[in-house]
Symmetry: C2
Subunit: 159 residues, 2 copies
Amino acid sequence: MLRRDYPGLDCSVAKALEVIGERWSLLIVRAVMHGNRRFGEMQESLGIARNVLSARLQRLVDEDILERRAYQENPPRYEYFLTEKGLDLWPALIALLNWGDRYSPDPDGPRRLIVHKECGGRVDDRGICEACGQVLHARDAIQVPGPGADKTAVVREAV
Amino acid sequence: MLRRDYPGLDCSVAKALEVIGERWSLLIVRAVMHGNRRFGEMQESLGIARNVLSARLQRLVDEDILERRAYQENPPRYEYFLTEKGLDLWPALIALLNWGDRYSPDPDGPRRLIVHKECGGRVDDRGICEACGQVLHARDAIQVPGPGADKTAVVREAV
DNA sequence: TGGCTTGGTTGCATCAAGCAACTGATCTAC
DNA sequence: GTAGATCAGTTGCTTGATGCAACCAAGCCA
């Protein structure tokens, strides 16, 4: 992305995209939701260039979407956590995830399913549990291996 | 964006972003939902470079998100319409729009509101009508001027 | 005849992304 | 105690997508 802003557009979608519309940004948020909190974990799981990951993390912290916490000193090492603002991106991620699943399906079915933590029901594109009808939030859902998963799949937080 | 794909990521969010994650793509979808169907309308309303708009429109047509229909011959002139696949991006756009509104609010309140066409209730970040509770789709909602609107605002389709 | 409208395409300059190598600190193995 | 590994970046270089402006083509308008 040459510029990250959309000058002259007084539109809330454009405002959102100025913050999380850059290449990799939303995937980093998803990776953190998924439990990847450290630089190396994210770099490996995403295959992103290290300088770009560094720049994106800084920006996401500046925008109060991620929070950086030291887990050791000497040498200083940090983990990244989602703020409330970051967690509130969950509906958008779920909508995109379901859209991707619907229109670019895996041959054997989805590799991962997002399910309601309490009742195990599948989560639809609105973040609503198809079993119990509850409107869910980021912390109400987990990711489990789907029909198309390989054996290495592991149960994780949602998204 | 240097490359538009995310090689090695078997993730539905990444698959979605490979299609609509490029700069401008989602804003073009929004512009078409908004009623901007012609090249010039989109170019002016978005302020996007013409070559980039041309490339994005072609890609969105190739991906079956937009459909190009001739509205005259000699010289051939086209309008762009959303397919079902394109309309199904509405929940993602609504989620982003509400997130943008919540965390980068306009000083006088939102300039535009998305409301349920039938009952006039506001649409929340899940695309659910706050008044009647109905789960809405793209064609169930319209956009109306909000408290922060200037006088030139016009009632349009949603998003 | 010349200008206007519409929907692009082409050429060029700039800046972001990808890659690989390097840094700097600490921990571990031998 | 020296070499190597780990972790979290930073730096330098190359490539290529983006923004901008100019141009093109075909009809219409007066």
